[in-house]
Amino acid sequence: MSEVVDWVVVGAGPGGLKAAACAAQQGARVAIIEREPRIGGACVHRGTIPSKALREAALQLSRFFVQAQQFGMVTPSALKFSHVRGRLDRVIDSHVQALDLELAEAGVTRIHGAARFVSPHDLEVRNPAGLVRRLRADHVVIATGSRPRLPAEIPIDHEHILDSDSVLGLEYLPHSMVIMGGGIIACEYASIMATLGVLVTIVDRAPRPLGLVDADLAQGFVDAFEALGGRYLGGRTLARVQTDGISSTTSHLTSGEVLVAEKVLVALGRLPNTAGLELAAAGVTMADGGRIAVDHHGCTSAPHIYAVGDVVGPPALASCSMEQGRRAVLHALGQPELHAGGGVPIGIFTVPELAAVGESEDAARRRLGDIVVGRADFSGLARAQIADEPAGFLKLVVDPSGERLLGVGIVGEGATELIHLGQLVLLGSGRVRELVDTIFNFPTMAEAYRVAALDVLGQIRVRSCGRADAA
């Protein structure tokens, strides 16, 4: 006999949790099904939160080791990874507790197990103990997330050749690591490992990493990575990884280069989690690449079933998944969705951080031609010098008139926080002048906005003078 609820949410990651909370706030009876014993999804347990916690711990540790050396202290190398792992576990535990509390306060029923559709409104949930429950719901949200893509030609054994999930199960620091891929996950782990003293080599088809941001931002990452002893081998393709079915991680590239490393990390994208859901029984159709096809409200081919987050494809950001979850519920309930403006900011937690919002310099130049780019180097900011983080810069991408802000790009420590100020300007007036007229605290990194805006105004003055002279 089925338990009847108003909403069933499948998957307790960022998108699913937000959808469940939003539906419960509307007074609905909501059940959320999660395959793992703890809620949070890959974001909390295998992705966003762990990698950021690792990064922070690695930075803390590297600063500690530098200072220890300055004071002539001898530090045991074994300290490194135990510290990092311990901190990671504590961060995850406290975040899961907060999420648990939030769900409990919202009155959402939690069910542990793997779900599958048996009809458009009925789901069966089976947990590892073999217990089976049946649920019937008016509405369903599918938020089952994604998993690392495992190319068939690479023998990933999660021991010597890892994916971006199993890299978090490492119990000791390898001496060296080859990372296949030049995307966000690959570059974030490359930074973390290099900061911890691992000899890292990134191999990717693209001539430069992080193709979704401007070349100068990506170069900021490459420069810092190489300063840590890392290597980026762009324009390379893997021919084979020689493992003999075990641990030898000799990577042969089609260029003839041979890379020997203790571990290989394969970070070549992610695939949606739809296996086992039996979506055909629900009348849900698929798009290419294993994604669930949805309209701009997140509605699938079955009008009462929504899909949100990584399972519908890019941008696969936790922030977007949450927003999609909220909008899906509001749409189903016939309420206004109140679209968030200001664009979706990109935050890349490499060392140093990269962030961007709005239109990139490349895209703006292609669209408008002679745009203006104002730049503030962090080395010129008092706060950056005080914090001993002088590397990096902020740039404003501005229309040819020099008046309207189109986008912001930042490379440097604190970039992922600093970007939100630019996002708010884009969301509001969009006027560059506003950044000059606003009083910022001194000394702060936010000053970079004013410096870059003044650079824009200076360039416009020069252009005006040039035009007057020509006339």
Partner: protein, 280 residues
């Protein structure tokens, strides 16, 4: 330390009483783990010391070198080229894998002997190897902590040879059923003493301390449950019915293993059986 041991009571003169008294009095002739095994493990865990140092430590001990090479050429590693040196083994298998082989060889050399209970010891060793290999496959299926799973499974019942050693010192020869009973009852306490003596890792200590208990400390819960499930699979495989180990259990629930995960682990059974043949 011995005063703190809380051991089950048994009749004076029985095998149980003999071992319990030895444990309580601290009158144990604990097997000694060769110094070289410690050095190898430490070198493997220290990224600043490099693989050459691991190989150097192994080469210091000819008997250990020979055993490591025999293991490195076993079927489970499937290499086409024969490994003929410790340095080649390290280059091919990696420092952690070779250190693990060295530790396995050292444990075997330290605890398996030709005494009156050699049959029981051989059986324990085979079960421990199988348990370690299954534990590794379980960890692989969960994509977590694969590096330490084998050692936790291998050493889970480390107290068994200690108990058998005490019994072997006695002039009396005990009935196999009684030996099995006393081993089951006292192996955990004996294993903990050996963990201290050998300065084994926290994960291995927790695995030994828990025995079959499911009340594992959170920090090492996954190691404990992985080794326990590995032991259940080893036992089921020995009985010719590996499928019986994948019925829902506290360990399977705790490790959050679904039927498809368990199917993948069960599929490795024949490979593990062949590997045990070559490693035992």
């Amino acid at each position: 330390m011995s005063a703190a041991l809380d051991l089950p009571r048994a009749a004076e003169g029985s095998a149980h009483a003999l071992v319990a008294r030895a444990l309580a009095d601290g009158a144990l002739d604990l097997p000694v783990l060769p110094r070289v095994a410690h050095d190898v493990m430490l070198a493997a865990q220290d990224p600043t010391r490099g693989s050459a140092e691991v190989a150097r430590h192994i080469e210091r001990d000819p008997a250990l070198s020979a055993t490591v090479l025999r293991s490195a050429n076993a079927a489970i590693y499937g290499g086409a080229v024969e490994i003929v040196s410790a340095r080649q083994a390290v280059a091919r298998l990696g420092t952690v894998e070779v250190a693990s082989l060295a530790m396995t060889a050292a444990v075997r050399a330290s605890v398996v002997d030709d005494g009156p209970y050699r049959g029981e010891l051989a059986q324990w060793w085979r079960a421990s190897l199988t348990c370690g290999l299954f534990a590794k496959e379980i960890a692989r299926a969960r994509r977590h902590a694969v590096d330490s799973a084998f050692m936790c499974g291998l050493l889970r019942l480390l107290g068994v040879p200690v108990v058998l050693r005490v019994l072997a010192r006695s002039s009396e020869r005990f009935d196999p059923a009684e030996v099995a009973t006393v081993t089951r009852a006292l192996a955990t306490a004996a294993g903990m003493l050996l963990c201290e003596g050998w300065n084994l890792s926290g994960a291995v200590r927790a695995t030994v301390a828990q025995g079959a208990s499911t009340d594992a400390p959170p920090q090492f819960a996954e190691h404990v449950f992985t080794a326990q499930l590995g032991a259940a699979m080893a036992q089921a495989q020995a009985a010719g019915d590996l499928q019986s180990a994948v019925a829902p259990s506290a360990q399977i629930v705790a490790l959050n293993l679904y039927p498809e995960d368990l199917e993948r682990i069960v599929a490795t059974g024949p490979i593990i059986a062949r590997s045990v043949e070559s490693l035992a």
